[in-house]
């Protein structure tokens, strides 16, 4: 399929492009990008162009990449399947996603990785990059076979959801992973400090009578992993940063030239623990929604590039997981279909400009995961997201492609949405 996209504003942070241009896609690749290609193409080989799409008023960006999702298959298909997960991804504007290994069985072996890739290929919507477990069964005891997993197709390592409490094991994982160019993604939570906690520890946990998860539960492990990265001269990627203290630690580490990268999720710069007063389990997430002061620090961290990536930590759940007492409810937010619009608020409130936001949602995650993606350069894979920046819409859980209808944003008014998602030169979602 050949596609000519005309009339849009093209933003590609990788090439420092932000201007009105045309872009021509051929054989799954970006064939050409430039100001006058529509004219030259029309005169030379108009019969070859199968489709011209006028995207005046739209913004074309390199396909968005979410490096932190949970697809739940194998094992928890009632929450999400790989097929429903990638359908949600393209509807949310994501052309690629990386999925965490906490399925059942845990993705700690070649067969599970291959199963995920096969299912993703069958679904043929977004690209799926599996993340392998650091330890067998993510139990934090014995390393998995990193080399074998890499050959099977994993792009990173993480025991997300089950923090690696053993610092020596984490050190080995970072050393061995670094030598294989496999980034280690750390879910930072000292489970002795967070044990039994249900929400951020502070005024609201006190008045609600819900046991608290202190910010230091996250920060203690962020500090530990930065120290390991420094000592072993390796790298670390900090997942879902939620506290001001973590932002400070990462900022300081970057100043010292350490190879530390970090991500946050839209709910951490959108909501605070004040929202939990309704005991609505859709607001229950780990790490928990924090204070106003933390939210402000997250935005500052995004603005000054302390935080490299926005990843939604898509955590779909079934009704039975959420429609229970708060303390029995599962953690997580189904985020793929609201992530972009929530992140666009950062442009509206002037935290970020367009190229900065797109870098955090495409260029940077591609760089961290070593993916040949995140750019609109000629020759690159034709993964493209088209955003209507002015489209007004209301979040309606019933329209979610994801099986996980667990979102605290139901009914929220949004501005801006992905209207066209192109993966490998093929239109995988058309919401125009």
């Amino acid at each position: 399929m050949k596609l000519l996209l005309t009339g849009a504003r093209i933003i590609d942070p990788a090439q420092n492009i932000d201007s009105r241009m045309d872009i021509f896609l051929e054989d799954g690749k970006i064939a050409k990008i430039g100001t006058d290609i529509s004219k030259s193409l029309k005169s030379k080989s108009s019969e070859k162009i199968t489709k011209i799409i006028d995207l005046t008023g739209m913004i074309i960006v390199p396909g968005l990449i979410d490096m932190h999702t949970h697809l739940r298959e194998p094992g928890f298909e009632y929450k999400e399947t790989i097929a429903s997960g990638v359908a949600a991804a393209v509807a949310g504007g994501f052309t690629s996603i990386a999925c965490m290994p906490n399925s059942n069985p845990v993705n700690d072996n070649r067969s599970t990785t291959e199963f995920i890739r096969r299912k993703a290929a069958q679904a043929a919507l977004a690209n799926v990059y599996p993340i392998g477990a650091i330890s067998k069964d993510s139990a934090g005891v014995k390393l998995t076979e990193f080399w074998d997993l890499k050959e099977a197709g994993i792009v990173a390592l993480s025991d997300d959801g089950k923090p690696v409490m053993d610092a020596a094991l984490m050190r080995r994982a970072m050393e061995y992973g670094f030598s294989l160019q496999l980034p280690v993604i750390s879910h930072c939570e000292d489970t002795n400090l967070s044990g039994g906690g249900l929400m951020n520890e502070g005024y609201y946990s006190t008045i609600l009578g819900l046991s608290g998860i202190p910010g230091i539960a996250e920060e203690a492990m962020v500090a530990r992993d930065i120290l390991i990265a420094e000592f072993t001269k390796t790298s670390i990627h900090i997942a879902h940063v939620s506290t001001a203290g973590s932002v400070h630690l990462i900022r300081d580490a970057k100043k010292r030239g350490l190879k530390v990268t970090a991500e946050t999720a839209p709910h951490y710069f959108t909501l605070t623990d004040e929202s939990l007063q309704s005991y609505d389990t859709n607001f229950k997430v780990n790490p928990p929604l924090r204070s106003e002061q933390d939210l402000k620090a997250i935005k500052e961290g995004l603005a000054d590039s302390t935080i490299d990536v926005i990843a939604c930590d898509h955590a779909p759940h079934g009704r039975t997981d959420k429609e229970v007492e708060f303390e029995y409810a599962a953690n997580g937010i189904s985020g793929l279909e609201t992530s972009l619009a929530l992140s666009l608020n950062l442009i509206l409130d002037k935290t970020l400009n367009w190229p900065e936001l797109i870098a955090k949602m495409s260029t940077n995650p591609a760089r961290i995961l070593n993916l040949p993606k995140g750019t609109l350069e000629a020759g690159a894979d034709a993964d493209i997201t088209v955003i209507d920046p002015l489209l007004q819409w209301t979040v309606d859980l019933q329209t979610f492609r994801s099986r996980g209808k667990n979102s605290p944003f139901n009914g929220r008014r949004m501005q801006g949405k992905a209207v066209l998602t192109i993966v490998g030169g093929e239109i995988k979602y058309d919401g125009r």
Binding site: L210, E323, V324, F326, E327
Partner: protein, 308 residues
């Protein structure tokens, strides 16, 4: 004044006028419990379900007696005998009970916020009889009623609440209620039992019982849950009782006419010495139990449209 609330989920949601109305209504019901025939037909034909997911003797009995003295039909469901053990969710239990058309559901649950789930799902009135470490509104109301009767007022009094504040729903409800009614609430307990940012509720916080007791008009002692020792919240009962027990010597720091309260059940010799607990010149512990019935009668009456 008409009582507009559908549910009683917490003192936080009640206005001063609503608290006053409840207390005045309760005062008018006090006399019924002293009659030879302790029963009036006020709630005849009404059905009240006591849904208790947590063990309770006094609160459940108090609600049951309150309902019966008003001639309502009261049904008790406790977690050990109900469908809970078979794995039915709270939501399904709520819908099942709703389908039987009761008038009021009283719920106690170990999970904070459980009564809120129930209230959002069913059309009947819900009374929170204690949820996790969140609120225990009927306890605070009976405490306020006791204080008001003994002291003639609540406003301007210094009330010291002592013990495991972190795990206490009684403390939270009383902080809201007493502060609303103009009392000055101070707290004391080991630093490990004081929840974060509790001072933002408008209270002063001390780690020594003596500092809180100074010039107190009312001292409210909280029960120490013995199993909390395992969480290292305090090293031993021995040490706790040496430093946080209300006794003959430290009570002298309070006002001469201080009254001593306890939501019960008491651990004699742990948080309160037996001679204080049994001293009729200061202890109002049994009086609290007595007021509990009247307060619960008042709430059942108001929620079923009694004020119309």
């Amino acid at each position: 004044m008409k009582f507009e609330k559908k549910d009683i989920l917490g003192i936080k949601d009640l206005s001063i006028d609503e608290i006053n109305l409840i207390l005045e209504t309760a005062e008018s019901f006090l006399e019924i419990s002293t009659r030879k025939i302790k029963k009036v037909p006020t709630l005849r034909g009404k059905t009240i379900i006591n849904l208790f997911y947590e063990a309770s003797t006094r609160t459940r009995t108090s609600f049951e007696i309150a309902g019966k003295r008003l001639s309502a039909d009261t049904i008790n469901i406790s977690a050990s005998t109900s469908s809970v053990v078979k794995g039915e969710t709270l939501i399904d239990t709520a819908r099942t009970l709703e389908a039987m058309n009761p008038d009021v559901i009283v719920i106690r649950h170990s999970a904070s916020g459980a009564p809120h789930i129930l209230a959002s799902l069913v059309k009947q009135s819900i009374i929170n009889a204690g949820d996790g470490a969140h609120e225990h509104p009927t306890q605070a109301l009976l405490d306020m009623m006791t204080i008001k009767e003994r002291k003639g007022k609540i406003s301007g009094l210094k009330v010291a609440i002592i013990g495991d504040i972190e795990h206490s729903r009684v403390a939270r409800s009383n902080i809201y209620g007493l502060s609303k009614m103009g009392a000055h609430v101070v707290l004391a307990g080991p630093a490990t039992m004081l929840p974060r940012d509790i001072e933002q509720m408008g209270t002063k916080v001390f780690s020594r019982i003596e500092d809180a007791l100074v010039d107190a008009d009312v001292v409210m002692m909280l029960r120490i849950q013995l199993e909390r020792q395992k969480q290292n919240i305090f090293p031993s009962l021995r040490e706790y009782s040496q430093h946080y027990c209300l006794n003959r010597s430290n009570i002298k720091l309070a006002k001469k006419d201080v009254i001593v309260m306890h939501p019960g059940p008491i651990n004699r010799g742990v948080e309160i010495s037996p001679d204080i607990a049994d001293d009729p010149s200061c202890s109002v512990i049994l009086d609290q139990v007595n007021k509990g019935v009247a307060v619960r009668m008042a709430l059942l009456y108001l929620l079923t449209g009694g004020s119309e």
